[in-house]
Symmetry: C2
Subunit: 389 residues, 2 copies
């Protein structure tokens, strides 16, 4: 059976292990430490630094294919692995578009994918540049580091070029952070399109979901996006399949979208299992984790059919209490149908430490149940908080 | 998070790992070798002999609870662990009924559970005893080793007291095998009732399934059992819950049943995840593996609601080819909805090496799809067989 190497030991690698177990595929993980989320549940763990070429080479030796649980492995290192004959999926050329937001915007614009207005921010006189951009596209502005951001990190909304904005931009430019600016899109809501593409070129698209963010972090996903027009949903699926094809993505591609009055705009790309696809573990015939493995192994892709009319996923964020296991008692007794996923990560306030999923047909009921379970796992009851303190 | 120790490194422990990953529970496995099915996919593996008290003690140290992937850990050793303060679930007193078929029959008869006629076969003049038993209950007879059997091993059907029967019984008695005899039940079909019971006494019952055996090995499970009368199904669930309660089972209890013209009879008991429950991974809201973990951890039990009108599971038995991975191509391309589970075991003819599951509403279609996938994984095409040879 083949060995799939995944660089990164986070929860995406952890949940990929569940799918690897079923397929009989060996998952090898390159984790920063033996206590990482995935390292705790995988037999073949290599502890190392996935930004070190030596560590990557040692890890990749004996892997049939290498893939990634995040975007932070340097492209040059991935190219080195590719040149030594190790298939990397996605490959370095495709992955660049998930690593560099400016490259992504330029490429998507070139292939005609709808994007917000954007521009590279020059190091010299950045404030004057931003002022001109705002004159053309209005306030607020969205300032982004072209590389390295996630979960709202590396993204700033500027309401005006006030003192705070000056300080921020000066600091970032001083630190050598490469910046871009985008118009602030007045979106109705955020959607996500998740597709898989295999090296053979087979594609498969999941139902389009609605994602709900708070403070730049996804807190809830509703599958399928309620009330989404069928044509619009098909358009979003086609758009994501087209991007995957044009960029040569192998594995999963998640396309975060803004739904506006005038149509869809691409927000971000990710080329790996994605938070917006966690609902598929129970909610689709093939989980995104199994689909990613099938795609990177060039196996035929699995059915993306939904298992229920609606599936709701809510992220569990860390609260103030370091331990949440005893909260299972209430959550499971209260709702025997809720599926709890805990990532084995140390609890820190605001950190994604797990998620819950519920399936059924009454959307309001499902949303209330998912929120209750996620909130309780985060905060406990008032009495519980006292106990934890 | 608690540590659950599972003695035995087979596919049941392997699939329990998938559920442990979701719950964030640490699964420790005591495996006979590092190449065992579960040992390949668990971070915390102890290699040892689960019939050795020393190995069991070392393994159990630091576990919050110990449970089992098979029935072969000696009861005296489990009692030793219990006396040293380590919760074992099921406990030795309950587990004895799944380890010794004679004890099981005596106890079930005592609590009024319907069983076939049975008797202990004496070492002295066993043939005369069998002849009398046959006079009372008719031919054929079912001869069983009271301990150690599985998958049809340790069970023999005697059509007459001919030379072969004499040879068999003489050999077994000579080897010190403790024997019992049962009437051969003219059953319509075989059913299985799967329930969970927690130390608190909470119970949960899955839908009753039909199991199809060939040569003493389960080849197919249909959930729920087609055409089963609702009262009969409820009776089977109540019977299993009642047995779990009366025997003090903690964890899962699988009750294999004969459906006869006159009603239900108990065939066998197992106190662990069971082949007849593999369909629950995709086919029920809570998989039997998660349910077992919840039960042994005394967490509230999960919903046993089915995820589809019908789920069909077919076992994949080893064929002549040592490698089956390339057969995934056909199976997955042919049927994107089939779920493949491969146990990472070496392929040997007739050995259970995996299973496939399909869900939906057209039972004939589901059965055909499951059979096709399982048969192809076993045998491949005619051309494929040549390649393998």
């Amino acid at each position: 059976m083949p060995v799939v190497g995944m660089a990164g030991g986070g929860q995406l690698a952890r949940m990929t292990q569940q799918a690897a177990i079923a397929l009989g595929v060996s998952l090898r993980v390159l984790a920063g430490s033996a206590g990482d989320s995935a390292a705790r549940v995988v037999a073949d763990v290599r502890v190392g630094d996935d930004s070190s070429l030596d560590d990557l080479r040692a890890f990749a030796k004996g892997c049939d294919v290498v893939t990634f649980d995040h975007e932070h492995v340097p492209g040059a290192h991935i190219r080195d692995l590719e040149e030594s004959g190790i298939p990397c999926r996605p490959g370095s050329a495709a992955l660049l578009h998930a690593q560099d937001k400016l490259v992504m915007r330029e490429r998507l614009s070139a292939i005609g994918a709808p994007c917000p207005a954007y521009a590279h921010v020059p190091d010299r006189a950045p404030m004057a540049f931003l002022e001109v951009f705002a004159r053309d596209h209005g306030w607020p502005l969205v300032l982004k580091a072209t590389r390295g951001g996630y979960d709202g990190k590396g993204v700033w909304v500027l309401d005006a070029l006030d003192r705070d904005a000056w300080d921020l931009v000066s600091r970032l430019v001083g630190e050598g952070v490469d910046l871009m600016v985008e118009e602030h899109v007045p979106f109705r809501r955020e959607l996500a399109a998740l597709v898989a593409r295999s090296p053979h070129g087979q594609g498969a698209a999941y139902p389009i979901v609605e994602t709900v963010q708070e403070n730049g972090i996804c807190v809830e996903v509703i599958a399928p996006a309620p009330g989404l027009d069928g044509d619009r949903a098909a358009e979003a699926q086609r758009l994501a399949l087209d991007i995957a094809d044009r960029l040569g993505v192998t594995g999963l591609l998640a396309v975060e979208l803004f739904e506006t009055e005038d149509g869809l705009l691409v927000n971000e790309l990710a080329m790996r299992p994605h938070n917006s696809g966690h609902w598929t573990i129970e909610g689709a015939r093939t989980s995104q984790f199994e689909q990613h493995l099938r795609a990177v192994l060039d196996l035929p892709l699995g059915s993306t059919d939904p298992a229920a009319p609606y599936t709701v996923m809510a992220n569990v964020l860390g609260g103030d209490a370091p331990a949440i296991y005893h909260r299972y008692l209430h959550v499971m007794a209260h709702d025997p149908g809720v599926k709890v996923h805990f990532y084995g990560k140390d609890v820190r306030p605001g950190r994604k430490i797990g998620h819950v999923t519920v399936l059924g047909s009454d959307l309001d009921d499902l949303r209330a149940r998912a929120r209750h379970a996620a909130d309780f796992l985060r905060r406990g009851s008032a009495m519980d908080e006292k106990e934890d303190a």
